[in-house]
Symmetry: C2
Subunit: 245 residues, 2 copies
């Protein structure tokens, strides 16, 4: 039995999220069926992170164990031949049996896209929040800088989440503009449930003057979800990259 | 009765082309229904060009006549509120009753996109041809330069087309690369059926060495569709812009 590590890109629009479900079409379920057709085994995969319905990935990491005789360098093409065009395996490599895509991850980077044109855009509505308002990206960057570092981020965790340890480290948040498209890259050692989407909602509150840059540190130290901004919709979010040791 | 000119952008993936059909969902049919809900009239539109199934537009021009009391500057938002997210009206203005979106067009620009990464891309497969080969964009540009000018383009017209006058003027063809994405903009005073897609197929034949740059002029003067390259698939094509007098 060998363990394989895959990097997978997908457009999450047409899936009920990443995580396998019995009654719904998911990214994980679709990938497992495709691998199974190639290896003729019943394959169970592990993902680095469960992306919600509508969330995309360029660098989701997925592992599986198999006794297939197909060499790793042929598996990319073989598995892709069994996948729909909105899920594409980027690479497959053999890894040690102790490799775990979630526990082994050291850094994860997510991108959130905001389309701030006055009108919606038919080519990016699946990949960006339409936010037809003035965006002061410098002000948002300034507020974001107050989030960087190791903190108890209970304020940015979806209420109802069962997780006990809410301390995470954010390495960087970069707010960039290209015309009417704003891209915010958030890199950290791990994220609480909906954390990136609440961070973006909080930065938009700063943009709108509903929160000041100076209040960010108070919100974090207050650990109260209700003091932070709203959870922005899923379609703007993409899991960009996961770094392992 | 007033005539209105709209600029419309759409992702053509989910439509059976632009032109109205009784039994299929089309861009034009969808737009007419949306306008009708706002003006409470049975509206018939005219488009600058019929885009095929899977073809997109950023600057399709659509006209309609109406007695609506809604001011033109409010119609954009009103009509968009009745449209699905893959069709977005960009502007509405009142024009003279002699304005015709097809006959009045002086220049049209189409873009064809080619994704030449080794692997398919789940975010652009609806908008670009996947062509996982080396692309020599300079060679393609050189071949394209031989197509510019006023010529009888019978060689680039889909066989079976009923059109009699096959003389058209191409103002420019620009081949640009951005990483693995090649964008080819073709600007002319009008185009024969499938002309842009056959031009792109011919440029790809040049890229592959199946045709030489020098042969382009011969192909044009020979007026034989069979001597040109293949018709590339629709999804890479976008109607970019139409210029009126």
């Amino acid at each position: 039995m060998k363990r394989y590590k895959m990097i997978v890109a997908y457009d999450g629009t047409n899936y009920h999220g990443f995580a396998r479900q019995n009654e719904a079409i998911t990214v994980q379920g679709t990938i497992e069926k495709a691998i199974g057709k190639i290896t003729q085994e019943e394959v169970l995969t592990l993902g680095a992170g469960r992306t919600d319905a509508g969330v995309h990935a360029r660098g989701q990491c997925v592992t599986f164990d198999s006794e297939t005789k197909v060499p790793a360098n042929r598996l990319v093409k073989a598995i892709n031949s069994q996948l729909p065009p909105d899920i594409v395996v980027q690479s497959v490599e053999e890894v040690g049996e102790d490799f775990h895509p979630r526990f082994g991850a050291k850094r994860k980077t997510y991108r959130y896209q905001i389309w701030c044109g006055a009108l919606p855009d038919p080519f990016t509505y699946r990949y960006a929040l339409h936010y037809p308002y003035k965006v002061d990206e410098k002000k948002m960057q300034e507020a974001a800088n107050h989030m960087v570092g190791e903190h108890d981020f209970a304020c940015f965790c979806a209420s109802g989440s069962q997780v006990k340890d809410t301390v995470r480290k954010i390495y960087s948040i970069d707010v960039k503009r290209d015309g009417n498209m704003i891209a915010i890259d958030v890199c950290g050692n791990g994220f609480l449930y909906n954390m990136v989407r609440i961070i973006i909602g909080t930065l938009l509150y700063v943009n709108e003057g509903k929160l000041s840059t100076a209040e960010i540190s108070e919100i974090i130290s207050g650990k109260d979800r209700k003091k932070a901004g709203p959870t922005v919709p899923p379609q703007g979010l993409t899991m960009l990259e996961i770094i392992y040791e």
